[in-house]
């Protein structure tokens, strides 16, 4: 087993051109990703948390080579995806799959489960009739569905079962990496648990490692060993998930933890304004919302640096204890 990371992203930058609202188009062009780097290893699922507009979904698309960055690199098992010729990128796609938030919207209601689940195989141009059917059956069984479910249509299943179909589809190419974008947030609590248990099983037994994107800290802590907190296109804190949420070093991480509703204590709502106002050209991107900001925070952008000797890194001039 090699020591190469399963996935390594370095210095990713991506700016979308906002579709022309006249003179405002330029002003709004804030990078969706402003220099993102991290690596994740086989068997250790990795979480990304952050609010809408933090760039987490852009990151997912680029990690899967569904979109190209302006600059920076993505390496899957040591191979740089954006330097590969197209015909070599195609087989690499078998190693990485995606599951989405809405299990209904991502399944074609007119197709049978068999065809839906086999779709990534067809796209890769492999597997003939008999082998294809065998792999569909195996994939359905791996997610706790019956082989006979292959002949049904999506509407014959509940929401939780439809998410299983989507997971079976992702598994059929035997991927190492599965990017999961809010995989349980559309599911009822009673079926969320089934899906989370399934994800844990797949990591342990099927060699699947998840890049899990979610706004739900408890879900991320349940699945991911390491988590990165994103804010406006940057990683502001990264570290071992449970330790980081128990003891956040970045004020934004602290804000997320405090805002998360808990059964055992009332949530604390911060008094700072929500949208944080316009971003300063220099300085910390979080400064307008930060309850701990000092003059230096407005002048100089903090860099992501190691804190306390462990794996924790934080981009803050005055990290919390």
């Amino acid at each position: 087993m090699s020591d190469a990371p399963l996935l390594e992203v370095s210095s990713l930058v991506k700016t979308y051109r906002s579709p022309g609202i006249g003179p405002f188009a330029r002003k709004n062009a804030r990078p969706a990703l402003a220099g993102i780097s991290f690596s994740m290893h086989q068997g250790r699922s990795f979480g990304i948390v952050g609010e809408s507009g933090s760039g987490k979904s852009t990151l997912a698309r680029i990690a899967l080579a569904l979109d190209r960055p302006d600059s920076g690199a993505v390496r899957l098992q040591g191979r740089s995806l954006f330097d590969l010729p197209r015909r070599e990128l195609r087989p690499m796609r078998a190693h990485m799959q995606m599951i989405f938030q809405d299990p209904y919207g991502s399944l074609d209601p007119r197709q049978r489960v068999e065809k839906i689940v086999a779709e990534p195989l067809a796209a890769l141009g492999g597997a003939t009739g008999a082998e294809r059917r065998a792999r569909v059956r195996a994939s359905l069984q791996a997610v706790g569905l019956k082989a006979s479910d292959a002949s049904k249509h999506p509407h014959e299943f509940s929401g939780g079962q439809r998410q299983r179909i989507a997971i079976a589809r992702a598994l059929i190419t035997r991927p190492r990496l599965v990017v999961a974008d809010e995989p349980v947030s559309a599911l009822d609590v009673s079926v969320q648990a089934q899906t989370l248990n399934l994800m844990s099983d797949l990591e342990r037994q099927a060699g699947v490692t998840f890049l899990l994107i979610s706004h739900d800290l408890a879900v991320v802590a349940h699945i991911c060993e390491t988590t990165a907190v994103m804010y406006r296109g940057r990683i502001v804190e990264i570290g071992e998930t449970a330790a980081m949420f128990a003891n956040p070093a970045h004020p934004y991480t602290r804000e997320l933890v405090d805002a998360t509703p808990r059964l055992d204590q009332p949530t604390r709502a911060p008094l700072a304004p929500t949208n944080g106002g316009p971003e300063a050209a220099e300085g910390c991107p979080y400064v307008a919302r930060c309850a701990f900001a000092r003059p230096r925070c407005r002048e100089e952008a903090p860099r992501l640096e190691t804190k306390g000797g462990g794996s924790r890194k934080v981009a803050c001039h005055f990290p919390l204890d």
Partner: protein, 324 residues
């Protein structure tokens, strides 16, 4: 009592016949009180909220009684209901764009109920609308009033809808998943805003949510619904600390807990959330419940009372132990 609901039932006509989506719910709500309604899809929580506003779909038949400020709302004609809505009873929805007209400026929309119910002039209503937008802590209320809804962020739109809802000082605000589509940091601020408004103007809140944790932090009492039925109700602390219904207990245990080891097994509820049924015998949760015995499948569960208004509807309520 501000609101007294008894034996409320909603039947919806479908191709398969009448389906009972709300099945004999009874609850009450006093001035300034906040009641949480929690449930999964198909629990009937949204239909219950719509029934209180007289906004159930055309195919639905409402029966039972809804008494609001000593008046019976079931069977009230549409004109009378319209006079109540937006005045004495207001509603906040999950998606502000369902309540806000995308083609009209925000200020005009906030002003509208004031002109309709309070007979303010256009100018007075507009001035009041700006004050309301400031009251819900929208930065730059003048600018917000001049904006069209699309120009505001999700959180700002939700604040605008709250401003519209509270304009006439309603006595009851029904909030159906008001923060579900928002980021968690925005959610915390909106819920704090609703709390503050309730305390300062003594309006009652009915907060509908799928998230027990949201209700835990913001309500005095909670009702837990499943398949159109109230399974458990009572003070929030009692219900969460000592659930007396297997369904509530299962909901609590299915959530990943902060501080639990990574990948720890979560308790699951077998099967899928219920679909509305035409005929039902016994307890709606019987097919998924770990405590099911023969009687659960044939006889509807009785209401069993515990301390201080804590009620569980379960044949085995006494055996559901304390977990926390």
């Amino acid at each position: 009592m501000l609101l007294e609901v008894s034996e409320l039932a909603v039947d919806v006509a479908t191709r398969r016949g009448l389906q009972r989506v709300v099945d004999g719910t009874s609850f009450s709500l006093g001035e300034g009180e906040s009641l949480g309604v929690v449930g999964e899809s198909g629990s009937g929580k949204t239909m219950t909220a719509l029934a209180l506003m007289g906004l159930t779909p055309e195919a639905a038949q409402v029966s039972g009684s809804i008494r609001f400020e000593e008046r019976e709302l079931v069977g009230l004609d549409e004109d009378e209901l319209r006079r109540l809505r937006g005045d004495r009873i207001a509603m906040i929805f999950q998606e502000p764009m369902t309540a806000l007209n995308p083609l009209r400026r925000v200020g005009a929309q906030v002003a509208e109920p004031l002109m309709l119910h309070r007979a303010l002039s256009k100018r007075e209503a507009h001035a009041r609308a700006v004050a309301l937008l400031e009251h819900v802590r929208l930065a730059e209320p003048e600018r917000a009033a001049r904006s069209y809804p699309f120009a505001l962020s999700g959180g700002e739109r939700q604040r605008a809808m709250i401003a519209m809802a509270i304009g006439c000082s309603p006595r009851l605000v029904i909030a159906d998943e008001p923060t579900t589509a928002l980021d968690v940091t925005v959610q915390a601020r909106i819920l704090a805003l609703i709390d503050g408004l309730r305390v300062e103007s003594k309006m009652a809140i009915l907060l509908v949510s799928h998230d027990l944790a949201v209700i835990a932090g913001h309500c005095d009492r909670v009702i837990v619904m499943y398949a159109g039925m109230i399974m458990e109700s009572g003070p929030v602390e009692a219900v969460l600390r000592e659930p007396r219904n297997p369904y509530t207990l299962a909901l609590l245990e299915a959530r990943p807990r902060p501080g639990a080891p990574r990948g720890a097994r979560l308790a699951t509820i077998p099967g899928a959330p219920p679909v509305a049924e035409i005929h039902r015998e016994g307890c709606p949760f019987a097919g998924r419940c770990a405590l099911t015995i023969a009687i659960c499948r044939s006889v509807p569960p009785p209401e069993v009372a515990f301390d201080a208004g804590h009620i569980s509807r379960c044949h085995r309520a006494g055996e559901v132990g304390a977990v926390r």
